[in-house]
């Protein structure tokens, strides 16, 4: 390969989109991983896409979404806190007796939804289940 100026830190245009990336320093794929790289973050965005959910409801959604074992509150709490801190979610606490907290996507979080759409479109063909059925990969 002679020139690969579009691969790395100072790509010009190209890649898959034809967009100008000259002002971007960090590869979006790496950034994406850092931001939603947690085990549940992507799925949290997924279940939150059509409205606010409560702490416990998010947890139960994860179980139903394919995890066998329930998410422990500590983990869920941390994921939610991370995402809130990064501005992906907003947290609203209602001052009622059985405590009630709702999490909602912020515009920053909603900006990720097109990616989610594409993931679901990909998954609708069964691609992920096919891949994970390859030999094992189902471990854990």
């Amino acid at each position: 390969m002679e020139h690969d100026e579009e691969i790395g830190s100072g790509p010009a245009v190209s890649l898959l989109t034809g967009l100008d990336m000259s002002h971007i320093r960090l590869c979006p794929a790496i950034g994406f991983n850092r931001i939603v790289g947690g085990r549940y973050k992507l799925h949290i965005l997924c279940v939150l896409h059509r409205g606010p959910l409560r702490f416990g409801e998010i947890g139960r959604s994860l179980v139903k979404g394919g995890l066998g074992n329930p998410v422990t509150p500590r983990i869920l709490s941390r994921e939610l806190k991370d995402m809130t801190r990064l501005g992906l979610l907003s947290r609203k606490e209602y001052p009622v007796v059985p405590k009630k907290v709702e999490y909602t996507l912020t515009p920053r979080g909603e900006a990720l939804l097109p990616i989610l759409s594409e993931i679901i479109r990909w998954g609708a063909t069964g691609a992920h289940e096919d891949i994970l059925a390859t030999t094992n990969a189902s471990a854990e």
Copy 2:
């Protein structure tokens, strides 16, 4: 919330795409994470999208893509091996003196490219850099 049959394991249609997901058991977002959840896997798909690359070249691409520190061969080897085992990549070894191995996207790997496109489209706005600039998050 009264009924949330579209969230979890047996979603009917909806979500973001309007596609029928009734036959899908595992949430695509979770599957996606399991498949390309490694730190470099997504980026590897990214740099491979327009043609085969050699082992060392992939490593260097990762550095240029935003990682500060080079990827150690052990990690890169494992990532590549994982992805090859899952059928995302194919590995071609040339019987020449300075050993030469090329990795190429398979159709299974290419099926992920629309997702990559969407990630790059998202990143082209600087979204990931904005988010990661929030307070810290740049740790490591």
